[in-house]
């Protein structure tokens, strides 16, 4: 009974956010003169209408899920990882180059590439964690700034030393990976690949980690009250380092599965332009850092984008409608987030005064 109530009340905020998003969307749609209901119906069809649309939506959601999970994990332990984008990009480029230059059979290349992608993302995130632990450089800022370095560096790699010179066009991209090292597709002719299964499995593992393990317990407590954790003998630096490492590794994996499962090469800007990392952050915030919730939210946000494409194909409502809905969502989420952040700060201050 109590459990039910708690689950229900944790759903209220996301649902209100959705309502506001769709209301904002409805206003924008009505401006174009398309009937609102028809437009949303088109959107639904575009996202889930048949196997093709459904699998495209899920394929699009794959990197978003992995990024969201990584960010959630850091959040749950009380740390901000705003560097998921850079970690993803480095993961992607590391995976691409490993798959290209690793000797051995296809499956060896695939596994090595996945490991390399996760390690690259993880180490990049670890750099920020280390600077925080060692020099008290604020994570929020360091992770954010490291994004630029990562993107520029990856861009340099594929415009200079590892540029694809086989093709005709002078694009900033690596060569194509051999087919044996690709992640398998789940359905013939559809874009959905094994990375999606991997993402869902990881979401379940994280849920189990948080609920049933010593480390998950220490991580949650550190996020809920770091002083209580320290008092109880939890090594907070260790928790931070491990969480940031894993968080970065998951972001790196997001880039990796995009490379190995759908693009088969690293193309400069192809991961940053769609704003995967920021959509992942939104999924995390919408789901209050719950791993399974983040997964669902990520699929929903991907559906918004694929649905908007369908809408644009069939009506005169432009693709940007998904941006309108997302913007309204962001506004609501950040207002709530800021509110609870300020409330917490104030409480901390009040508590501090009595010590």
């Amino acid at each position: 009974m109590k459990q039910w109530k708690q689950t229900l009340s944790s759903l209220i905020h996301p649902l209100i956010a959705l309502l506001i998003g769709f209301l904002a969307g409805a206003i924008a749609i009505s401006v174009t003169g398309t009937p609102i209901l028809q437009a949303y119906q088109e959107m639904w069809t575009g996202a889930f209408g048949n196997l093709y649309f459904l699998t495209s939506t899920l394929a699009r959601s794959t990197p978003i899920i992995l990024l969201g999970l990584g960010i959630s994990l850091a959040f749950r332990s009380g740390y901000f990882n705003l560097g998921a984008e850079g970690q993803m990009v480095l993961g992607a480029v590391a995976a691409a180059l490993t798959a290209l230059y690793m000797p051995g059979s296809g499956i060896v290349k695939l596994l090595a590439a996945m490991a390399a992608g996760m390690i690259a993302g993880g180490l990049w995130s670890l750099l920020a964690a280390w600077m925080d632990a060692k020099f008290k450089v604020n994570l929020l800022i360091s992770t954010l700034l490291l994004n630029y370095i990562a993107s520029l560096f990856a861009g340099y790699l594929v415009t200079e030393p590892f540029k694809d010179t086989t093709g005709s066009a002078a694009l900033a991209q690596s060569r194509m990976i051999e087919q044996g090292a690709w992640l398998p597709k789940l359905f013939a002719g559809m874009s959905l690949h094994a990375g999606f299964v991997l993402a869902v499995v990881i979401a379940i593992l994280l849920t189990l980690l948080l609920r049933y393990t010593v480390f998950g317990y220490e991580l949650k407590i550190t996020g809920q009250n770091p002083l209580f954790a320290a008092y109880g003998g939890v090594n907070r630096t260790r928790v931070m380092i491990l969480c940031m490492l894993t968080s970065g590794a998951l972001a790196g994996l997001a880039g990796t599965v995009e490379v190995l499962g759908s693009q088969y090469r690293y193309i400069d800007g192809s991961l940053t332009a769609p704003g995967y990392a920021w959509t992942g952050l939104m999924a995390t915030l919408l789901a209050n850092s719950n791993p399974l919730g983040t997964t669902i939210a990520a699929v929903f946000l991907a559906a918004l984008q694929t649905g908007a494409m369908g809408l644009e194909r069939n009506t005169n409502v432009p693709l940007e409608i998904s941006s309108v809905i997302q913007a309204a969502l962001i506004l609501f989420i950040s207002a709530r987030f800021t509110y609870s952040f300020l409330k917490r700060r104030k409480e901390e201050k009040n508590n501090g005064a009595t010590v």
Binding site: E218, Q224, A353
Partner: protein, 502 residues
């Protein structure tokens, strides 16, 4: 003395629940009337009714014999009633004078007359002997001063009846003393004061009459001069308090040895100045002192939360100086922290998650990093029963528990570690008498089992009842050691204030 206020047969129901049941009491002009009762007894509810914040379900209020009904606080203020709230409602970025005159500002044509305001507030403070600096920003003032500002605000609005709801909860002992003197002064100048508290020593010191509430009913009305703390607490709790069972026994070997502990301060003055003492098995050593004299730093240094610059700490002969919290706990220390919300719990976490801290690492409760949930559930359920902790479930969030119940969770957890040494800081701050007695008995039982307890408390009565030996801290030093059997409250107070050991 003339009766100024009568509340007659006041009943207040919240749905099925009766918070006040036919409560009657009368307030005389110029008296201090204390209303005492455990948490939840209905004191605040009664005062909210008087101040027009709640409407009674039935009953009447009379002022100077005339029946009144207050639809809101403004109407109560018009009848000369003022309330000093438990949580101050002041604007920290404005000056004291501005905070006091707000809502009723002196004006020069249409403009706020700042000079006039400062002069008026200064005169008011003078008249009632409440020292303040009218031009100072409220945010820069200590809590004791902020409270004086609240009182002055009430006086400025012309209150004849002043309600103070748990005014001493946020104050230091020295500030409490000053407040009590202020209240006496106000009463002498003809103000009638309703003082709400559950600290009986304060009541005995200052009140003329006492009304005791329990479960929403009046269980006694007494003249303060003709009763005792014991009688009042019996009326509050509804049963005889057993008192603490102390077994005489010989203290054993030193368990904790602290040698010349030193922590450098930021402003030249050391936080801890070569502190040395020991605690033997089978004894409770109390550390008395006004808070802010190095007790917090000592506790944090002993528990591994604050590094020390010089000196050593030995626990069971093993050096634990500057070790990690985990290592120190494994060496045999448990710790009830001084601030249960800041250090002792995570309030958004469940009761269970709060209770298993530290236990979650033990072999018994995990296997290869996987928590053994069933065993942990059993552990915590056992405590909930044996400590009579009121919670709806293990999954209930800690923030839904009352202060006393949450404190019991912490005490259960730390006693549950069954370590040879327990560091107990403010173990009963803000909990009601029943829970206090229970917690005291737990500490005493630990001592009686031949384990050692270091008790740090700003509550002198707590130190006096429990300790075998008493150390007094002042400005980062241990300035005196007293035998608890022979020590008097005066001796300790003097040392706490920086006086010499007689």
């Amino acid at each position: 003395m003339e009766t100024i206020l009568e509340m007659e047969r006041i009943t207040k129901k919240y749905g099925q629940f009766t918070a006040n049941q036919e409560i009657s009491f009368a307030l005389r002009e110029g008296e201090i009337h204390a209303i005492v009762g455990e948490n939840g007894a209905g004191k605040t509810t009664l005062m909210r009714i008087l101040y027009g914040m709640e409407q009674p379900t039935s009953g009447t209020i009379r002022i100077h014999g005339a029946e009144k009904r207050f639809a809101n606080p403004a109407e109560a203020i018009d009848s000369g009633i003022g309330m000093v709230h438990q949580h101050f409602m002041l604007f920290p970025s404005r000056t004291i004078a501005e905070n006091i005159v707000i809502g009723n500002e002196p004006r020069k044509s249409i403009w706020f007359d700042r000079k006039q305001a400062i002069a008026q507030v200064g005169a008011l403070a003078e008249r009632f002997r409440l020292p303040i600096a009218p031009g100072q920003k409220v945010g820069d003032c200590p809590l004791g001063t902020q409270q004086r500002v609240e009182i002055l605000k009430v006086l400025y609005n012309g209150a004849k009846i002043i309600i103070l709801d748990e005014p001493t909860a946020v104050l230091t002992p020295l500030e409490v003393k000053e407040l009590l003197i202020t209240l006496r002064g106000l009463a002498e100048q003809g103000k009638s004061i309703i003082l709400i508290t559950h600290k009986l020593h304060e009541v005995m010191e200052v009140a003329d009459r006492i009304t005791v509430l329990r479960n929403g009913r009046v269980t006694g009305q007494l003249e303060a001069s003709q009763t005792t703390v014991e009688e009042v607490s019996r009326l509050m709790v509804g049963r005889e308090l057993d008192g603490i069972r102390r077994e005489t026994q010989q203290a054993g070997q030193p368990l904790l040895q602290v040698n010349r502990l030193f922590i450098r301060g930021k402003k030249g003055k050391p936080l801890l100045d070569h502190v040395s003492f020991h605690v033997r098995s089978g004894e409770i050593v109390g550390i008395a002192g006004i808070s802010g004299n190095g007790q917090s730093e000592l506790v944090q240094a002993l528990t591994g939360l604050l590094p020390v610059d010089e000196g050593t700490v030995l626990l069971q002969g093993k050096e634990i100086t500057n070790r990690s919290v985990k290592q120190i706990r494994e060496a045999g220390l448990a710790h009830i922290p001084e601030d249960r919300y800041l250090w002792g719990t995570a309030k958004e976490a469940s009761v269970k998650d709060n209770a298993i801290m530290g236990h979650h690492r033990l072999k018994e409760f995990q296997r290869g990093g996987i928590l053994r949930q069933r065993k942990l559930d059993q552990l915590v359920t056992g405590w909930i029963n044996s400590f009579a902790i009121k919670t709806s479930s293990l999954a209930n969030k800690a923030q839904n528990l009352s202060g006393g119940n949450l404190q019991k969770v912490i005490v259960a957890r730390e006693i549950g570690h069954a370590t040879p040494f327990l560091l107990a800081c403010e173990p009963t701050r803000g909990v009601d008498i029943g829970a206090m007695e229970f917690i005291h008995q737990q500490l005493m039982d630990k001592r009686n089992r031949g384990e050692a307890v270091l008790l740090v408390s700003s509550e002198l009565s707590e130190i006096m009842t429990l300790s075998d030996r008493i150390l007094v801290m002042f400005e980062g030093k241990v300035v005196g050691e007293l035998n608890a059997e022979t020590a008097t409250e005066e001796q300790i107070s003097l040392l706490m204030a920086g006086g010499k050991q007689p």
